[in-house]
Structure formats: C-alpha cells, structure tokens
C-alpha cells in the first residue's frame, strides 16, 4: 500500500539528510508504528507519505514513495487527498471549519462527492467515532480527546486507504488516548485501513502494532520487524519491555497481559522485598480530607506552619460560566513532588495558573510563601513560584540562548551568569549563539526550566512537561527534578504521563470536574486506579511496585 524505495530526505541548508536508506513496504490493512528518538526523522517520513514532504516543506526527496500506486513525486498532496488521510500533532491547527459536522464534511466537499453520499458518511462517521452528540458543537469548545477524534473523523470521511498520524495520543489523558486507539483498531480490523503512526508514548500503542519501523538515530537506516523483535534492540521502549529485558523474558512481552503470564517467577523473587521508596519526609503534613461541613474549624486547624511552601484553601474558580475548580484544598511542603492528574479539562492547568497568579480565585484563598499570587507584583512572585508552561516557547523571547539567560538574570535579580550556569548543567552541548527555536522539544523545556530556576523559587510548577519528549529526554528530566526536590524545592507536575508520575511523585492528586477526588501517596492512589496505574504496577500486582527502576534496585 505504501512503498518506500531507497528514500532519503534532505532539507535546505541541512548538512546531512534527515532520513536516508528508507526502503520498505507497508502492506494493506496493517497498523505500522514508527518509533525512534526525537529528531530521528519520523515526521519527515510521515510527511513523505502524504506528499507534504517535499511539496510543502521544501527540501529534496531522493528515491520514490508510492501510495496506492501513485508516485508522490508527480502527485501533489491535494491529489493524494482521496487515498491518504493525515492528522498532525495539533488537531486545532488541522481544522478548517468551525463545527464538528462541517469539519467532517470538508474533505468530501473538496473531493466533490455527491451530497447524499456525504450525508451518509457523515452520519456513519459520527457513530463510528462516538461523536453524534457533539455534531453541532463548535470545535473550539471540545476537549482534547474529542478534538483528536474529530480530526481523525475529518480525514476518514473520504474513505482513504491510508491513515497517517503523528503522535495522536501525546496530548491526551489515558482514557481519551484509549478512545482514539480503539477507533484506530476498529478501522484496521473492520475497514482494512492501512495505518502508519508515530508515537513517543510506546506503552500506549505498541501492543496494537502489526509491525514496527525503528529509526534508531538521525540519518540511520530504519529497522523493520515485528514489535517484539524491534523492541529487543530499540533504544526507546515502554516499561513493559524494560521489565521484560530486566527479567530476560523471551520473546519479549508487549502487553501487560503477556507480561503478567510470565511474571510469576519475578513476583516470587520480589516477594518479601520492599521498594526502596524515598517517601517524602513531610508526610505528617499531608492534607487530610477534612469534613466539608466544618469549614471554620478546618481553617483554625491549619494555622500557618513555616514548613509550607504553598497552601490552597477551598479554592473555587469560575470562568466563562464554567466551574473550573470547586473548593480545592491543597498543601505543598518543601521537598515534596506532587503529580496533578485527571482528564483533559479537569482543572489541572487552572490550578497551576492560580498558584502563579495568572488566574484570580473566585472564592477561597491561595498562599504561596505567605503571599497571595494574583495580588503580588511579578518581580516578587518569581522568587516564590515558577511555572514552566505547556508550551515552553511562551517563555522565550530572545533570539539567542545567551540573550535569554542575561534577561533571565536581570528579571530574577540574580548574579549575572546564574542562568547560564543552570543551562550548562541541563544542556551541556548548547552554545550561546543557538536560537531557542532551533532547539529540540526537550532542550527547549530544559531552557525554560533553567530560566524559571534562575530566581530559585521554592515552588516549581510544570504543566505537561513530557509532551513530545522521548524516553531519553524524559529520564534526563526525571534526574533533574529529583535533584531539585532533594534540594528542597516543592514540585507540582500536571501530567497525563502515569509513568512519569510513578517515577517522580511522592504524592498524587487526582482532579475530576474541578474537584479533588483523591489525594495521597503515589503508590496508594495510582494502584487503586486502573487507568492511572503504571505498567509495572499492573504487571506485578498485587505487589506494589511502581517503576522498573525500583524492581531493578530490589533485585540487586
């Protein structure tokens, strides 16, 4: 269905090709997963299928790519639109119209399908993707998972033979990701659609793949094989594979189910051992679930203690007619790492924004280091609390790393060179003259983190820090954040990444509909919830292991 014949892609001004030596075929009706570290050329390869590379992006494509018999050299993307459906990373930038129904019809209108066919297919697709209740909704009001489903639906209606997806689940909460993957599974099984998808979060997708194409490094030729074969050699792998490699299971298990079947031996070896978990030294201060009725007494109990970095009491935020947060209580102690979890739109970002004073509380109180954030001048606030936003780019204005650092020193009133020293620690091989835009996703995050840390805020907030990061970048981030927590920074992560939460957080706070529905030590909260449990926990249940690293430590 898709055929790459000795393909290489070189962009203008690049010294070496982004991908080369690509020579493989994707048979009809298969779900093929493209894996590899950041910058290995996954997006280039996906773009080559839809013809956007090189027709739209520029650059030189050598070799030949054929899709359903059509050569992409002679066919522009619009002439491939009836056989290839492409969905990018950000569904919002994909939408042309403004309501769900129109968006589903747009592609068919461009192809000139008959009105009755369009009507039928829109209805079918609404049902297939479970969007029937949302048909008249404005696209901007949908949640992330719904938007992603509409984006997939909008390319499905012309009945393409090939579906190309770039990180379809990265921005989604675990439940929404499963929704999207279930749809893909159904398309492959029921309609025989060929799917090519790239994804960093392998733990979510690898079990659905028929074949895996591994791009081991930039410019290196791809390795093709069954998921188990490729995972045995891949530099990026999900926790289930890590555990399999550790326990030397062959063939490697890819699903939690397979792994559980083989895990008896490992469970026996682990029996009686305890995970060496650095529990937070401040467990005594964990907020208790106070009875709602005695608000007055609750306030009295929590008389200010110096050991608190931040305190949120009965916080409610109401915006645009929606209760974003309802009576949220949260206490943060120095040295504590808290993971804030919950589905898209549960109020995680709002809570973080309230802590840095971007959002004023409707009722209730927020105290950070004894100050009320939204009434504090930004200059004073940066020394109390720092937020790395979901899009780290929002923090970067200058055109070189050095200028960014100088500005950060001035903003924070720190010694000149403070920020640069932090950057060198986090990103050893970034030079002063680099433009922030040229950094990879992970590097940009590290730069934003360094800028925020320049003011040494005792409270550090990160919004979705692992979106778009590969496993290597993620493990570097984990090391950095652990070190910061040991130094006494309180850290709050809003994340969908259960593996990250398992690895870092002392405590997990679950939000739903703007309310705190669970707040407790990571092991307890995460183990109790099927969708928030990390793979290791699921495999080794009923024993309570959270990460492969814990298991490894216990075995040695």
């Amino acid at each position: 269905m898709i055929r790459f014949e000795d393909v290489s892609v070189t962009y203008h001004g690049a010294a070496q090709p982004a991908v080369q030596g690509v020579d493989f075929e994707v048979p009809e009706g298969e779900l093929v997963l493209l894996v590899g570290p950041s910058g290995a050329g996954k997006s280039s390869l996906l773009g080559a299928v839809s013809g956007l590379v090189p027709h739209f992006t520029g650059g030189t494509l050598r070799g030949r790519v054929t899709v359903a018999g059509r050569d992409t050299r002679t066919h522009k993307p619009r002439e491939l639109a009836d056989v290839v459906g492409t969905v990018g990373q950000d569904p919002l930038s994909h939408f042309v119209t403004d309501t769900v129904e129109d968006e589903l019809a747009y592609g068919m209108e461009s192809l000139g399908l008959a009105p009755d066919v369009m009507r039928r297919r829109v209805e079918e697709t609404l049902d297939l993707l479970g969007l029937a209740g949302l048909r008249d909704r404005s696209l901007a009001t949908l949640s992330g998972g719904q938007q992603q489903r509409v984006a997939i639906g909008s390319v499905l209606t012309p009945h393409p033979q090939v579906l190309v997806l770039d990180e379809p689940t990265s921005a989604l909460d675990p439940a929404a990701a499963e929704e999207v993957l279930a749809v893909l599974q159904r398309l492959v099984h029921d309609l025989g659609t060929t799917v090519l998808l790239a994804e960093h979060r392998l733990e979510r997708v690898v079990q659905y793949a028929d074949q895996v194409v591994l791009l081991p490094a930039p410019g290196a030729p791809p390795v093709l094989g069954t998921p188990a074969e490729v995972m045995a050699v891949s530099p990026v792998y999900p926790p289930v594979v890590a555990l399999g490699r550790l326990a030397e299971w062959t063939p490697l298990p890819l699903t939690v189910r397979d792994a559980r079947r083989r895990a008896d031996g490992l469970r026996e070896r682990l029996a009686g051992r305890e995970p060496a978990r650095g529990t937070t030294p401040f467990t005594g201060l964990l907020p208790n679930s106070r009875p709602r009725t005695s608000r007055w007494r609750a306030r009295k109990q929590t008389a200010p203690t110096p050991a608190r970095t931040a305190e949120v009491q009965a916080l409610s935020v109401r915006r645009a007619g929606i209760d974003a947060l309802r009576r949220v209580d949260l206490t943060l102690a120095p040295g504590e790492t808290v993971a804030l979890m919950g589905r898209n739109g549960a109020g995680k970002s709002t809570l973080l924004n309230t802590l840095v004073g971007l959002v004023a509380p409707t009722s209730g109180s927020v105290q950070v280091g004894g100050l009320t954030p939204h009434r504090t001048a930004p200059r004073d606030l940066v020394r109390r609390v720092g937020l790395v936003p979901q899009e780290p780019r929002d923090l970067l204005y200058a055109d070189t790393v050095a200028a960014e650092c100088t500005a950060a020193d001035a903003d924070a009133g720190a010694e000149p060179g403070t920020c640069r020293a932090l950057v060198s620690g986090l990103l050893p091989d970034v030079t002063d003259g680099t433009h922030p835009r040229d950094l990879s996703e992970g590097q940009r995050l590290a730069l934003a983190l360094a800028i925020v840390l320049t003011a040494r805020p005792p409270l550090l907030l990160l919004d979705e820090p692992t979106r778009g990061l590969d496993y290597a970048a993620k493990s570097r981030l984990v090391t950095i954040l652990r070190a910061l927590a040991t130094e006494g920074h309180a850290i709050v992560l809003a994340t969908h990444d259960v593996e990250l939460a398992a690895e870092l957080a002392h405590r997990v706070v679950l939000l739903a509909d703007g309310e705190v529905i669970a707040d407790g030590p990571t092991a307890e909260v995460v183990v109790a919830s099927p969708s928030f449990a990390p793979q290791t926990t699921k495999i080794l249940a009923p024993q309570q292991w959270l990460t492969v690293a814990e298991v490894r430590e216990a075995l040695t």
Binding site: L52, H94, S138, P158, P378, D411, A455
Partner: protein, 387 residues
C-alpha cells in the same frame, strides 16, 4: 479566552467541555440529531442591508432609534448560541464610540452649520494662514451639535445593522452559498478573518507568560516585546493550516478544455470592467445614458464567467442552506423597508430630514415609522418555528 487559557498552549479551551456524566439538556436522540431550522444567511444579510439602506435615507433621530430598536429586537429573538452572536454587542459599542467621536469633533473643530444658539464658547486656538478653513475651539452651537448628532446616529445605525447581520448569519455559512468559482477564495478570506482573533488570543497568552518571568504583564513595553513571538506563532499556525488544507484536497481542480478557461477569463474580466464603467457612469452627471445598461451587461457577463469558472472546481456542498419561505419573508421585509423608506424620502423629505437651521424638534412621521416596523417581521412568533 483571555487569561482564561493563559498557559494552556494551543490546545486552549479545553475547559469548556461540559462535565461528563451530568444530565445533558438533550432528552431524545432525535432532538440531538436535527439541527435547529436555519434561515439562509443571505436572507439575513439582505434584511440588514435593507435596514441599513433605509437608515441612509433619513437623519430623523426618532426613525433611526426605531431602526436600531428593530434590529436589537430581532437579534434578541433570533440569535443562535454561537460565539458569533456576540458580535452585535461589539458593533453596538463601536457605533456608540463613532457617535461620541463625531460629537467631540463637532465641539472641538466647530461645525460649518451656521447657528445662533450658542451653548458655550471654547477658547479658540489661532492657526497659521495655511490652515484656513480649519478651526480649533470657538463657539459651540446647538444647531451644530444637533447636526453632528443626527449625522453620527446615521453612521451608528449603519454599523449596528451590519452587526445584526453578523450576529444572525455566520459568515462561514454564507460561504456555503458562494458560487463554486469563488469558494476557494472565500475560504482563504474566512481563514484570514480568524487570524485576527487568534492573534489577540496569542498576545494575551504571551503577555500573561511575561508574568512568569517576573516582568509586568501590562503596559506598552510588554506588548512590544511579545510582538515578534506572536507573529512567529501566527505564521507557523497559518503554515500548519495551509498544509492541513492542502492534504485534505483544498484546491483540487478538474481538467477543463483551454477554450472554456479562456472564455471564463474573458467573461469575468469583461464583466468586471463593465461593472466599473457602469457604476462610474451612474455616479457621474453626464453618464446617465450609458451607465445602467453597461452595469447590467457587466453583471450578466461576470455572472456567466463565474458560472463557467465553477466547472473547474469539483467541489460539492454538504447540506447547503435552503432558501425557504422564511428566507423570503426575512429578505422581503428588509427590502420592503428600504424601498418604502426611499420612496418616503422622495415624497416627504421634510419629515425624514428634520431641519437644523432653524432648530426644530424632530417629530415621528407616522407612515415612515410604520414602514420601519415592517422590519420586525422576522421576529414574529408565528414565523419563529415553521413547522
């Protein structure tokens, strides 16, 4: 949006999702799948442009106020719960601003209207001789103010009429009714129109982000500093959208014989030239004879060109809005108001343009007022939910 989604990145407005698992206000499936009856957007535009035309025919403040009231009432009874419908308020504010500016100018710069009722005298600034005819300060007369008020109110009414059209008819839906040959241009225009709101949202987000770096998030300097990143972001988004549109078949064309293509070009260009020349003829005094025929010929040629050009596009329409009885009613009432008020302005100019010198209190002429009330037809309850 604003500070709301300050730092949620591009996936901005996810909060707006209704809480799951709560009772939805949609009891039956059938109700959920049948969209509310939509009047053709062209009908709403005709209606509001008709009202606007009527507004240009009069300076009577009572009639103009009546026109504004009519639009407000119709918008209030007919608007749909889309973000679009908020544009009426925005336009009303703009209209108020226009009116106030007009009055301020009349006070500060004086008015050419000779008046005897001096309200107050501002100190006059002496201007050099080359600025003859311009006055700064000086006498402010009641006549001048009344004239400026009437004039400003007329302009404000026009703006409010356009606002009503915007609130009642989604421009994106109007796009669906464009001839095929113009559709792609239309999409480009609509996409360009969304550029501005996105830019504003970006500016707000990035200014909020300045706070995170310890810089004040208000003030002009902050605005300037985020300028470049905002433009970069907007450009990137546009490129991403263009790529997505291309990959979804935007701009696919059918093969048509070269002769058809040439005829299309000739007809369209000739038609447009005809329209221009015809309009010029109509507007100048000496071209009265050839103006109208030339204009009509131009329109016909251009329409034929567009129709022929439509052959090149493969596009089909998904559920185009039907032009039904209600659309006739809506468009008809607007056209009737325009036509009858124009007639009235010819037959009884005094009532529609109350005198300023000498200053007289405007009266509400009975018949023109009744005509304006015709514009209320779309708000009639019997027509609100056609069975």
């Amino acid at each position: 949006m604003g500070d709301d989604s300050a730092l949620k990145g591009r996936g901005a407005v996810t909060y707006a999702a209704p809480p799951r698992g709560r009772a939805q206000p949609r009891p039956g499936r059938r109700q959920a799948t049948t969209p509310p009856p939509i009047t053709h957007p062209g009908a709403w535009w005709t209606w509001s442009l008709g009202l606007a035309t009527a507004a240009t025919r009069t300076t009577n403040p009572l009639l103009l106020t009546l026109l504004i009231t009519v639009t407000a009432y119709v918008v209030a009874t007919n608007r749909t719960p889309t973000p679009n419908s908020r544009s009426y308020t925005a336009f009303a504010k703009l209209a108020l601003a226009v009116l106030l500016i007009r009055l301020l100018f009349a006070i500060a710069l004086g008015s050419p209207i000779p008046g005897t009722h001096t309200l107050l005298t501002l100190p006059e600034v002496p201007l050099p001789h080359w600025a003859q005819g311009i006055r700064l300060g000086g006498k402010v007369t009641a006549e001048g103010l009344a004239f400026a008020f009437y004039d400003g109110l007329k302009l404000a009414t026009l703006l409010i009429c356009v606002g009503a059209a915007n609130a009642l008819a989604n421009p994106a839906r109007l796009l669906k009714s464009l001839p095929g040959a113009l559709y792609e241009t239309g999409v480009a225009v609509v996409v360009a129109l969304t550029f501005a709101p996105n830019l504003v949202a970006d500016v707000q987000r990035l200014r909020a982000a300045r706070r995170l770096r310890g810089r004040p998030d208000r003030g002009l300097r902050g605005l300037l500093q985020v300028g470049l990143p905002v433009l970069e972001g907007a450009l990137e988004r546009s490129v991403a959208l263009a790529a997505a549109m291309d990959a979804r078949g935007y701009g696919r064309t059918a093969q048509v014989p070269a002769s058809v293509r040439r005829t299309t070009t000739a007809l369209t260009l000739g038609g447009l030239l005809g329209v221009c020349a015809g309009t010029y003829g109509l507007l100048t005094a000496e071209g009265g004879g050839y103006g109208l025929p030339l204009l009509l010929a131009g329109v016909v040629a251009a329409a034929a060109g567009l129709r022929l050009g439509g052959r090149r596009t493969l596009r089909t329409r998904y559920r185009p809005d039907p032009w039904g009885a209600r659309a006739w009613l809506v468009a008809g009432s607007g056209a009737a108001v325009a036509a009858l008020l124009t007639l009235a302005s010819v037959r009884d100019p005094g009532a529609l343009a109350p005198g300023v010198v000498p200053l007289v209190a405007p009266t509400l002429p009975l018949w023109p007022a009744a005509v304006v009330l015709l514009g209320l037809a779309p708000a009639l309850p019997t027509f609100k939910e056609p069975s």
